[in-house]
């Protein structure tokens, strides 16, 4: 399949500071590609280089096999949906959408036809005469996307356009955007710091940190097989258990946790003895009060500190005996665990295959107050 967008060893330096450091990736035609990273990781800089607002210090950007280095932003076959949308307040909806077509000197009748059909597609056919400040947040969103899509760009770039919306609308727009993308078939490159947005909408996600891509893969891949400590922490929820690795008599690796007990590890091939690691276990991989018939090798006793009820996303906050750390355990709402209360002692367990270990790092994915 042809690559709609191909980026090679792209680097951007602002003085001494390297914002984007040797990033390479390809986006296939018609795919929804997300770049996920915390604020300040360089994702906006990367997007602005693709749009043409920043000149790369090094590297190549190709769109449909054409080198974009010397091409001005107004000549590139890409369009950018801005974070705050940047809909022109002095024009109405129709004039906003027609703006790009007028710059291409298309005839009035063609413009009218195209604007009409794109408004139809985004589901706002009646709104062409409205002023921008008469639109709701979700409508503005759709008009901003329509304004770009009407130009039929090879790649549509989106810079966290859902950031300003309230939670319910954001959930709704996630699905809307995904549907819109599969309907129009345009290649989307979407940047966000919200891992749920990236996971729900994308065919492929690149996780970015400190100017570099940590991992590129399908959302499932990133979730189940993270290849770095950062990805494990940033994508989805995870419990991070500091452990020290040593070998048993049979040569198998064991992880010694803060409580002084050993737990089996599996799944992570290249461990070295005596080193400190972080062991990651997903909250939903932890079983509550597993029966002995399930033969779970790793179990520990915990005190329930709190029940975090949130419907289908309910969780237990537990503290393992002998360790000073809070762990999060998914609490299935199937009536099975309704008798668990705060300050109870429960047993939890997990299969060694569901835990992964990475060398100990001090990185923080958010600032704790």
């Amino acid at each position: 399949m042809q690559a709609a967008l191909s980026v090679e060893k792209l680097t951007k330096k602002f003085g001494e500071f390297t914002a984007v450091n040797g990033v390479s990736f390809d986006v296939e035609d018609g795919k929804f590609f997300s770049i996920l990273g915390p604020s300040g990781c360089g994702k906006t800089t990367l997007l602005r280089m693709i749009a043409g607002f920043y000149e790369p210090t090094e590297g190549l950007i190709r769109i449909r096999d054409e080198d974009m280095t010397a091409v001005e932003p107004n000549k590139r076959p890409v369009n950018l949906v801005f974070q705050h949308l940047a809909l022109f307040p002095m024009m109405n909806v129709y004039e906003n959408i027609a703006f790009g077509l007028k710059r291409r000197r298309e005839s009035d009748s063609r413009i009218k036809e195209k604007v009409g059909s794109i408004l139809e597609r985004v589901g706002l056919p009646e709104h062409s005469k409205k002023k921008i400040d008469q639109l709701s947040g979700g409508q503005k969103q759709r008009i901003a996307i329509a304004r770009c899509l009407v130009l039929e760009p090879s790649v549509l770039l989106l810079d966290e356009p859902l950031g300003a919306l309230d939670a319910k609308l954001r959930e709704h727009m996630k699905i809307e955007l995904k549907k819109l993308q599969s309907m129009v078939g345009t290649t989307f490159v979407y940047i966000t710091h919200d891992q749920s947005e990236a996971m729900v909408m994308s065919d492929h996600v690149a996780v970015m940190n400190a100017g570099q891509f940590e991992q590129i893969g399908t959302p499932q891949d990133l979730y189940h097989n993270p290849n770095s400590s950062f990805v494990a922490q940033f994508v989805g929820n995870n419990n991070k258990l500091p452990v020290k690795v040593h070998k048993d008599e049979g040569g198998a690796f064991l992880a010694r946790y803060l409580d002084g007990k050993d737990y089996q590890v599996d799944g992570t091939p290249d461990l070295s003895e005596g080193d400190e690691y972080d062991m990651f276990i997903r909250p939903e991989a932890v079983l509550i009060n597993p029966s002995t018939s399930q033969s779970i090798p790793n179990t520990m006793n915990c005190d329930v500190k709190a029940i975090l009820f949130d419907g289908g996303n309910s969780q237990l906050l537990v503290i393992p005996e002998g360790a000073d750390q809070e762990l999060i355990v998914t609490l299935p709402q199937n009536k099975q665990f309704d008798d668990i209360k705060a300050k109870d002692t429960i047993r939890i367990g997990w299969n060694p295959g569901t835990a992964v270990c990475f060398p100990k790092t001090e990185l923080k994915i958010y600032d704790e107050a």
Binding site: A51, E72, P73, N74, L80, F82, A86, R103, L151
Partner: protein, 289 residues
């Protein structure tokens, strides 16, 4: 509210209101009313004074009067336009291009000359431009000119002087509107295929229109009513309408005619501004803000 507190409020209201009212009424409204009355009073052949429209009629029947006004208004428009042409890129540079640290400094640079009186500034220009002035000396010394040239007392110099003295009043309102222009509008237009000139035409100027209009009105009125600069820098041929008023009142001692001219200036400039606002489709309430 009790009666007592109501009375209290009324007292404090009067304390602040009366001085302002007296000031406005005695110093501004009363003299204006007296001038208005004067403009309609004329003396007939026998020295009897009575009501007349003759002073107003004189403006329309004597070509020298209305031609002076047309000339003045024409030059005021020209100056306004030139000031606008310079102020737009300057404001853009101050608000969008320059470093945040430099912005304040640049604004001070524009403000500082206005701490000095207009008279002094005009004399400053005269020192630079006159036949024995700094510029002539320099050009002759450099061999560009064989002999000094008189650069004062012509229309070009006068326009330049008026542009210089009114620049601030255009830049300040435009800068304050342009500051609120989100950079992403400019980038979005660029991204959608617009060239630089198109961005100015379709995004920046329409957005800044309230600032442009209020700046233009101030500059236009200042130029139309200015006396010093055209008088000192303009030639004998470039008589300004304010000079006509001055001449009537001071030289011919015809206060009635001068008063009529004064009110005509007020009326005609108001009409011009109203027309300009209508043409550009601006709401005067927005512009005044």
């Amino acid at each position: 509210m009790t009666k007592r507190s109501a009375r209290k409020i009324r007292w404090s209201f009067f304390v602040f209101f009366v001085p302002v009212f007296l000031w406005l009424f005695l110093m501004i409204v009363m003299p204006q009313i007296e001038l208005l009355r004067m403009s309609f009073v004329g003396t007939d052949f026998y020295g009897e004074s009575g009501f007349t429209l003759g002073h107003y009629a004189a403006f329309f029947t004597e070509p020298i009067y209305w031609l002076t006004f047309v000339r003045t208004a024409g030059y005021a428009l020209l100056v306004t336009f030139v000031v606008l042409l310079i102020a737009l890129p300057v404001s853009f540079f101050i608000t969008k291009v320059a470093d945040l640290k430099v912005t304040g400094f640049l604004m001070v640079l524009i403000l500082v000359p206005f701490w000095v009186s207009e008279l002094v500034r005009v004399y400053g220009w005269m020192i630079l431009l006159r036949e024995s002035g700094v510029l002539n000396k320099l050009l002759v010394a450099l061999g560009i000119l064989k002999q000094p040239v008189e650069m004062l007392y012509n229309d070009v110099t006068m326009v330049m002087g008026l542009v210089y003295t009114t620049m601030l009043f255009m830049i300040v309102p435009i800068v304050s509107v342009m500051e609120s222009l989100d950079d992403s509008f400019i980038e979005a237009a660029h991204d959608l295929g617009a060239k630089k000139l198109t961005i100015w035409r379709t995004i920046i100027i329409p957005y800044c229109m309230p600032g442009i209009m209020s700046g233009s009105i101030i500059v236009f009125m200042l130029v139309l009513g200015s006396y010093l600069t055209p008088n000192l820098m303009g030639g004998k041929n470039s008589i300004w309408f304010t000079e006509q008023i001055y001449n009537q009142m001071i030289i011919y001692f015809n206060w009635n005619q001068g008063a009529a001219f004064g009110f005509l200036l007020l009326l005609l400039s108001s009409i011009l501004i109203w027309v300009a606002l209508k043409i550009t489709g601006q709401d005067w309430r927005k512009v005044i803000k």
